[in-house]
């Protein structure tokens, strides 16, 4: 049972052994080409996308030994196609709303962050794919981005959502506030003054994210969870229509400045607890990072304080490197 939990869990983190032991990146990637108009940054994940309910639908099976049996290629292929079409619908809607530049950053670890079919993706988009990448789910963000959208997002652990999890953690709080993956990435984006305008996911995810980010963003409920791997779902076509319609509205409202970046008081006091389901070796691995400022407060609990949310991103990377090693 725990083994199962463990497997579902690391969806955001699948990767072969890679320890980013460095405190800061040693290689600074070049900036993405500057936008020729209003830029939308889209983070597509898979657990919260329309129709997906089961781990076999979002795993390619090549992410590591523990994932080998958790795929069914006849299912996986269909869902990466559906994913690509969801992203295209979002881009099409955003374009109608006035956006002219699109960055799509793979937010799902299946096939090592290479789920979208590049040949079928809207030709107006730049796609960030592969792993590792410096800020994982938000790699490529900068202040040229006009607005941030999360599609297919999932709820955090303990919430009754489809394949609910949050990176490598059972709990993750900043200044005492519990954040899910959308919340963490929204906080990092806020360092660049970028705000979240649209989130799609199941009903549990949207409810949780509203509690974190507030009610301003446009939430799209793609399905209603009736279990961790079962849901009442709308058709893919209907979900795409909702995404397109909402993305158009989101861009117009973002251009008007309706959304505010998700800011918390500095310094950020981060408290995190590694999953109870992890073996002790992972805890030891995190300990041996000797991450500057990372203070152990319990068996699997840590505290970290910083003024720069990007440091949280780098820390997450380092921890992921341990988990996936």
């Amino acid at each position: 049972m725990r083994r199962n939990f463990c497997r579902f869990a690391a969806l955001g983190l699948l990767a072969p052994g890679l320890a980013l032991a460095a405190q800061t990146p040693t290689y600074t990637p070049p900036h993405l080409p500057p936008p020729q108009g209003f830029r939308v940054f889209i983070v597509p994940d898979m657990e919260g996308m329309g129709s997906a309910v089961d781990i076999h639908e979002v795993i390619a099976g090549n992410e590591g030994e523990q994932y080998r049996t958790l795929t069914s290629p006849d299912y996986w292929d269909h869902f990466r196609d559906l994913l690509t079409r969801e992203v295209n619908a979002t881009i099409a809607g955003a374009r109608l709303g006035g956006a002219r530049s699109f960055i799509v950053n793979e937010g799902h670890g299946g096939n090592l962050f290479a789920n979208i079919l590049p040949w079928q993706l809207d030709t107006g988009a730049i796609l960030v794919r592969g792993f590792p990448k410096p800020l994982i789910m938000i790699t490529g963000i900068d202040s040229t981005v006009g607005t941030l959208m999360f599609t297919g997002a999932h709820a955090g652990p303990g919430h009754p959502g489809i394949l609910a999890h949050n990176f490598a953690f059972d709990s993750f709080t900043v200044n005492g506030k519990s954040l899910n993956e959308v919340g963490i990435n929204a906080l990092i984006a806020a360092e660049y003054g970028v705000a979240v305008s649209l989130v799609s996911g199941d009903d549990a995810e949207i409810a949780e994210t509203r509690a974190i980010l507030g009610n301003a963003f446009i939430g799209i409920i793609t399905k209603y969870a009736v279990g961790r791997m079962a849901a009442i779902t709308f058709s893919p076509a209907r979900v795409r229509r909702m995404l397109a319609d909402s993305a158009a509205v989101a861009v117009r409202r973002a251009m008007r400045g309706d959304f505010t970046p998700f800011r918390l008081a500095k310094p950020y006091r981060v408290e995190l607890m590694l999953r109870r389901s992890y073996p002790d070796a992972i805890v030891q691995g995190v300990d041996s990072l000797n991450w500057r400022g990372l203070e152990k407060t319990g068996n699997r609990s840590y505290r970290f304080t910083t003024d720069d949310a990007r440091q949280i991103g780098y820390l997450l990377d380092a921890i992921e490197g341990v988990v996936l090693h």
Partner: protein
């Protein structure tokens, strides 16, 4: 890991047939009595029902379609046709039957819509792929699809009084009959107030208490005959003529789809005319069931521990039980609990 083997036991269809077809490997299935709640937080049935109810249009005519697979046109063999590649099926064949399932459900939707139905909820009813058989993009885009496992009250998830009629497509005959891949959940027999019910009958019973009639059943000749004898002269479509539990004279899929379209339209008209009545029993409901003889003994032990379940004292096999309830929904939940014992996620 041998857990997949255990799963298959439960997935309808499998055990007796496999036993007949190939020498059974008698490595004892590992005992996994973990309650499913510990695997996943499964939403309570009532909460799932409220979620669906809140999504539905209050007006119009709603059809709730249970989509099973054994009774599909041309389907005869579980091992290749109704299982994904990852679980030992044969990919292209399985894919073709997934498409056939969507086509038959869509035919029912088209027919029902022509007769005035306005809203469609499709509930995946076949466990071979853990209730993920229809390609979502193949289904009529206006339909709501309930998929995945575990889900509360497996074949009746979300069923609520706003539904006007129930259909079952791809249905199979009761356990112990000569129908194609005949079985009934985890049971060799299942009765309510002494009346034997097949899976279509159980759905009709649970929906019947809410006042919803089962209006259309499609499956092989054994299924259609037994369902009419259980539920009366509802609309039925015979998709094939069983020659054994794994051979049939099959009608062409296109013909079957055409017949389903026509029957679905008739079914909706007859419900609107009040000609089809919900299946109702006297309360309290006296449920009696025997687990499949092929199960390991621990399945019976775990079942005996379920709340409200009594072992039949005079039964020497120890796998027969009774259950008494005032609510059909509670019977559905019991079914679910038994399913969860044998069908781990």
């Amino acid at each position: 890991m041998s857990r997949p083997a255990l799963r298959l036991l439960a997935l309808g269809a499998v055990p007796a047939l496999l036993a007949a077809q190939q020498p059974r490997q008698q490595s004892p299935a590992p005992r996994d009595t973990t309650p499913p709640e510990a695997y996943y937080g499964v939403t309570e049935y009532a909460a799932a029902r409220q979620k669906l109810e809140a999504l539905m249009q209050p007006r119009g005519f709603t059809v709730y379609i249970v989509a099973d697979m054994e009774g599909l046109a041309a389907a005869v063999r579980n091992a290749t046709e109704m299982r994904p590649g990852a679980r030992g099926g044969h990919d292209p064949t399985h894919e073709a039957f997934r498409k056939e399932l969507a086509d038959e459900v869509n035919a029912a939707i088209v027919g029902a819509r022509a007769a005035g139905a306005t809203q469609f909820v499709v509930n995946e009813g076949h466990g071979g792929t853990l209730f993920r058989n229809i390609h979502p993009e193949d289904l009529d885009p206006e339909a709501i699809l309930i998929r995945g496992y575990p889900k509360p009250n497996v074949m009746q998830t979300g069923l609520n009084p706003r539904v006007d009629a129930m259909f079952i497509i791809g249905a199979h005959a009761n356990a112990g009959t000569p129908g194609i891949i005949s079985h009934n959940y985890a049971f060799d027999s299942f009765t309510v107030n002494g009346v034997a019910l097949n899976e279509a009958g159980i759905t009709a019973f649970i929906g019947g208490e809410m006042g919803i009639p089962m209006a259309l059943a499609a499956g092989d000749n054994v299924l259609t005959a037994e369902t009419r004898s259980m539920l009366g002269p509802i609309e039925t479509v015979t998709t094939k003529l069983a020659q054994s539990r794994s051979a049939a004279a099959v009608f062409p899929p296109a013909t079957v789809q055409r017949r389903i379209r026509a029957a679905a339209a008739r079914a909706v008209r007859r419900v609107r005319l009040g000609q089809l009545k919900p299946l109702r029993f006297e309360r309290p409901y006296h449920v009696a069931f025997c687990l499949r003889a092929t199960y390991q003994p621990w399945v019976a032990e775990a079942t005996a521990n379920l709340a409200g379940v009594q072992r039949v004292a005079e039964d020497s096999t120890g796998r027969c039980f009774t259950y008494r309830s005032e609510a059909a929904e509670a019977v559905g939940n019991l079914l679910n609990k038994v399913e969860w014992i044998v069908l781990k996620p």
